[in-house]
Amino acid sequence: MVVKKEVLIINENHSVTALLKSYLVSKKCNVTISHTNTEFLLAINSNRYSSIITDILLVGTSGLELINTIKNNSTKSKVFVLSHMDQQVQKEMISELGAISFLTFPIDLGYLNSVIE
């Protein structure tokens, strides 16, 4: 039996989450979506995600707080940060916090697939 990968997507934009979810589901992943900070806090407590794709900004929390919460609650997860900005300083800061990869829009799905695998 093939064990499906558990992926959590945290983003306020419904188009982004719908697109990524349908793509990852077609790649045999179990996908959970959080559009709000409350949904995210509920989801993160379960600590069952192998990968977490998160937006850098979510209403009610800052990007740094968000990654810290992920790293404290979901220690085994690979964290991928989504952002519209492609700035080296921001990338370095996020990497220091423990994010595995930095994905800028438009997302290269081939790359996303390879890093999740």
Binding site: N13, H14, S15, V16, A18, L19, L20, K21, S22, Y23, V25, S26, K27, F105, P106, I107, D108, L109
Partner: protein
């Protein structure tokens, strides 16, 4: 008599006030309904495109196609769908060949945009051109050419940009005869598009632009020469130094400075002896 008039006036004001309130409420209701419908379409499109990305020949469920076709029949429905598709392309990276053409053809969005291209209204044509190049509908490119020198500024800007999007550096050949002014903003947009295209082996089209009688086309060519460091255009650009047009001569000076900086021999700071020795002996100038 006066009292009756006053009562009529108050009644009239009240009626107008009520009408305004009703129309405002109706407008809010329609907008809310429309925004909900658009959000639904966005999710439908995102979900179906996302699930079909791994398929080389995507097949979309009839139910989804019907929903989109129904939307397309509405006034400006094509704009809503086109906007959603453009937005989705900003979320995920799709190669030119894998733009959501399958769904565009299937629901007839391309023919709807093509009809707008044939419109007599400049605004509609400009919009159709914009959607055509943003969605990668290359078969519409042929129709852009006739508008590159159009008197409507928005239309000619979109037509020029569309040609650069599809033809890259080849887009210059459609600008050599333009007479209408070109803004700096348009020049920046063209250069941004050119950054995504590889530099061609021959720059003959840019050279032709430099010989143009229209100052704005020369300015565009000069900006490109400076930005992309087209040093091979040296012979064509240096005569621009004596141009009576201040912008042209300034850009030519910038080009000259860039050229000098590129051709100036590099000074080896710190003096790595081995490198200096190798360079010198290979030239045969120093014997140790």
């Amino acid at each position: 008599m006066n009292e009756t008039r006053l009562q009529y006036a108050i009644l009239l004001v009240l009626i107008v006030f009520i009408i305004i309130l009703i129309s405002l409420a109706a407008s809010v209701f329609v907008r809310k309904k429309r925004s909900k419908r658009l959000q639904r379409i966005k999710i439908i499109l995102a979900t179906s495109i996302g699930s079909q990305l791994k398929n080389s020949e995507p097949s979309y469920p009839t139910k989804i196609i019907n929903i989109l076709k129904k939307e397309l029949k509405l006034n400006y429905g094509f704009m809503a769908i086109a906007n959603v598709l453009v937005e989705l392309q900003e979320i995920i990276l799709l190669p030119q060949t894998e733009k959501p053409m399958a769904i565009i053809n299937k629901i007839g969005l391309d023919s709807k945009i093509f009809n707008k291209l044939k419109s007599k209204n400049s605004y509609k044509i400009a919009l159709a051109i914009k959607y055509s190049y943003e969605l990668g509908i290359i078969k519409h490119c042929e129709h852009f050419k006739q508008y590159t020198n159009h008197k409507n500024v928005n239309l000619r800007r979109e037509a020029q940009l569309g040609l650069f999007v599809f033809e890259g550096w080849g887009g210059f050949k459609y600008l050599s005869n333009i007479t209408q002014p070109m803004s700096l903003w348009q020049i920046i947009r063209i250069m941004e598009v050119l950054e995504k295209h590889p530099l061609p082996a021959s720059l003959v089209q840019v050279k032709n632009m430099l010989c143009s009688k229209h100052s704005d086309t020369i300015i565009l060519a000069l900006y490109c020469a400076n930005h992309f460091e087209l040093v091979t255009l040296n012979n064509e650009i240096l005569p621009c130094l004596d141009s009576g047009n201040e912008r042209i001569s300034k850009l030519a000076v910038q080009f000259k400075l860039m050229l000098e900086a590129k051709t100036r021999p590099k000074v080896i700071v710190g003096g790595d002896k081995e490198i200096i020795l190798k360079t010198s002996t290979s030239n045969g100038s120093i014997y140790t």
